[in-house]
């Protein structure tokens, strides 16, 4: 994420402002606030206040209905440390993030590199591979729940051919999380691929032509030009993969609702259950604070690492 800040430009423009136009300036200021006011008000109410509220509610016990909140200090955070389900969902979420890093990202990169060769029908392929991103997640999860059906599911067919017994994916503590990960990989692959494709297309073709004249092989072209040149894109995809794992909700909610026995529950699912099914606002808020801190940490690490490792031209 690179955002150009307008400081220098604004300075120049304000220097050119005619003197003695304080009335005009006041009018400009009023217009400015009128234009941006609604957005800022919405941020104040629905983004910044929630940060403060979540922070303070994480120190209380509250059921959302009763008028009083009971101060418990660090109680909710201490409870988190002793809560086996919390650690379970953290582990599951890490698995989801790891799968995005080691399965989805490389697959997306390979597909993008292949599609970038100006294949016949590449527009059609791109549209098909991207389409899950655009499809309603509830609808996709329902189709996959049917595919995973242990008795009549489509996935049983290839497993039968290989002589394997199909597990009852969504009802099996071992296989429920892999099932969720399969669907997440399927649905997120196209998005990552499209991001990689636009990264690949921004590489100047001159670089390849020069290397080809020197007789470089395809592998050399890939490892010496493509990989370094798209490293910012790769980094972006990796970071969004990890943060994305924390935001997974709809697909496990429909496929397994986190079950059986929390085996496929992700972080946000547990937060939702605490806050809105069990009305444990304090504990839910503490979970939200931890989620926020984790995302801050990742962003901080991203900033640090990207300066050191990533090649920006």
């Amino acid at each position: 994420m690179r955002i150009s800040l307008p400081f220098s430009k604004a300075r120049k423009q304000s220097a050119a402002r005619t003197p003695g136009s304080s009335k005009l300036r006041r009018k400009e200021t009023l217009t400015f606030w009128a234009f941006i006011g609604p957005n800022l008000l919405l941020f104040a109410v629905f983004t910044f206040w929630p940060l403060v509220a979540s922070g303070s509610w994480s120190f209380v016990r509250w059921d959302l209905i009763s008028p009083t909140k009971t101060w418990v200090g660090l109680g909710n955070y201490r409870k988190m440390l002793d809560d086996p389900v919390f650690w379970k969902v953290v582990r599951n979420t890490l698995w989801v993030g790891a799968s995005a890093l080691v399965i989805r990202t490389p697959l997306a990169l390979v597909l993008a590199v292949l599609l970038n060769r100006r294949l016949p029908g590449s527009q059609v392929f791109r549209a098909i591979i991207f389409s899950p991103r655009f499809t309603n997640k509830i609808a996709m999860a329902m189709v996959w729940a049917w595919i995973f059906d242990g008795q009549f599911g489509l996935l049983r067919a290839p497993l039968d051919l290989l002589g394997l017994t199909s597990p009852d994916w969504l009802l099996d503590t071992t296989w429920a999380l892999p099932a969720v990960i399969i669907v997440l990989t399927w649905s997120g692959l196209g998005y990552a691929m499209v991001i990689f494709l636009s990264g690949l297309q921004s590489i100047p073709p001159v670089l390849y032509e020069a290397a080809k004249v020197d007789g470089a092989s395809e592998w050399v072209l890939f490892s010496r030009i493509t990989m370094p040149m798209i490293s910012p894109t790769t980094f972006f995809v990796m970071i969004t993969s990890v943060i994305g794992a924390l935001k997974v909700f709809a697909i496990p909610n429909i496929l397994t609702d986190g079950g059986p026995l929390w085996s496929s529950a992700t972080y946000l699912l547990y937060l939702y259950d605490n806050a809105f099914n069990w009305f444990k606002v304090g504990y839910g808020s503490a979970l939200a604070v931890v989620l926020f801190l984790f995302i801050l940490l990742i962003t901080f690490v991203q900033n640090r690492l990207s300066k050191r490792w990533v090649h920006y031209n």
Binding site: I3, P6, A10, S14, E28, T31, F32, F35, I36, L40, F43, F46, T47, F48, P50, A53, S54, L64, L111, L114, L115, L119, G121, S122, A127, I128, I129, F130, S131, F134, I138, A139, M140, A141, M142, V143, A145, W146, Q151, F152, L154, A157, D160, G190, V194, I195, L197, S198, T233, F236, K247, F249, A250, L268, Y272, F276, S285, A288, L291, F292
Partner: protein
């Protein structure tokens, strides 16, 4: 370079293209397969559904599956709810983005950059963090189970503001200066000059927001109680759970899924290029 080695390298390049084509085609088939399975299942008789090994095509398409699915849940009402939520939310957010972006790009104000930094900071706070407090706020405003509650908490704009601010800043200042000399105000500059020039960006943003709002699940799940206020994704979710009691067959569920997806497929088919490019541009810029 001799003639043979030249044709040789062209041959390897062709082979490479062929291998790439096959690999990409396999990936596309695997990714498209669930969609295919959804369509054929929706047209099957229950005897063709509850069978193994699976039957690929129904002997006779069972079109009545769609009317059965339609009656399982008030999908007409859900369509209305989803449409109202999406249209009003998208219009509101696009307008908010346009006005904010214009202010940040084209109005002289001393603390403009500070305001911009505040909006930048809002981007750092994930919406998941705000779920509980926003539920409480919505409740206190009396907006539970209302369109206001569905729409308003998610119409503030960071992404769109960025995108449009960038577009407005890249426009040449002379365009605006001429209008200013003629005595035109900011509203004219915005709607007469900046907006028409930014039409492609606004169109992309509108499509992107509309599809995101149409597919919203978690917030509507939290903020609605009554069946009457459910949106389409919620309706589907309820149907998928009802199915567990065996009254609704998989063929009906898949028919319902198709009822919900077909309008989106049409839009995707028509605007696929803009959507994909808009999303990738947004990811790299925002």
């Amino acid at each position: 370079m001799s003639h043979t080695s030249w044709s040789n390298s062209r041959w390897t390049s062709r082979l490479g293209t062929a291998v790439a084509f096959v690999a990409v085609a396999i990936a596309a088939i695997l990714i498209g397969l669930p969609f295919f399975w959804m369509v054929t299942t929706a047209l099957k008789d229950w005897k063709e559904v509850m069978i193994f090994p699976p039957v690929w095509f129904p002997a006779k398409p069972q079109w009545q599956n769609f009317s059965v699915a339609w009656q399982q849940e008030p999908f007409g009402r859900y369509y209305v709810n989803s449409t109202i939520t999406m249209v009003s939310g998208t219009i509101a957010e696009v307008l908010i983005a346009i006005f904010s972006a214009y202010a940040l790009a084209r109005i002289q104000y001393r603390h403009r950059e500070a305001v911009f930094l505040v909006i930048l900071a809002a981007m750092m706070i994930p919406s998941q963090m705000s779920l509980i407090p926003n539920y409480v706020t919505t409740y206190r405003l009396g907006w539970i189970d209302t369109y206001m509650g569905l729409v308003v908490p998610s119409v503030s704009s960071v992404f769109g503001t960025f995108l449009l601010r960038q577009a407005f800043m890249s426009m040449s200042p002379e365009l605006f200066d001429a209008a200013k000399i003629d005595g035109a105000g900011h509203l004219y500059s915005l709607f007469g000059i900046a907006m028409p020039l930014a039409t492609p960006v606004i169109a992309t943003l509108t499509l992107y927001l509309a599809s995101a709002k149409w597919n919203h699940y978690l917030w509507p799940l939290i903020v609605t109680n009554s069946r009457n206020m459910r949106t389409l994704p919620l309706g589907l979710a309820w149907l998928s759970r009802e199915g567990e009691y065996g009254e609704v067959g998989e063929q009906h569920k898949m028919a319902a899924v198709l009822i919900v997806l077909i309008p989106m497929f049409v839009i995707y088919f028509l605007a696929q290029k803009q959507l994909i490019e808009g999303i990738s541009a947004g990811a790299l810029k925002g």
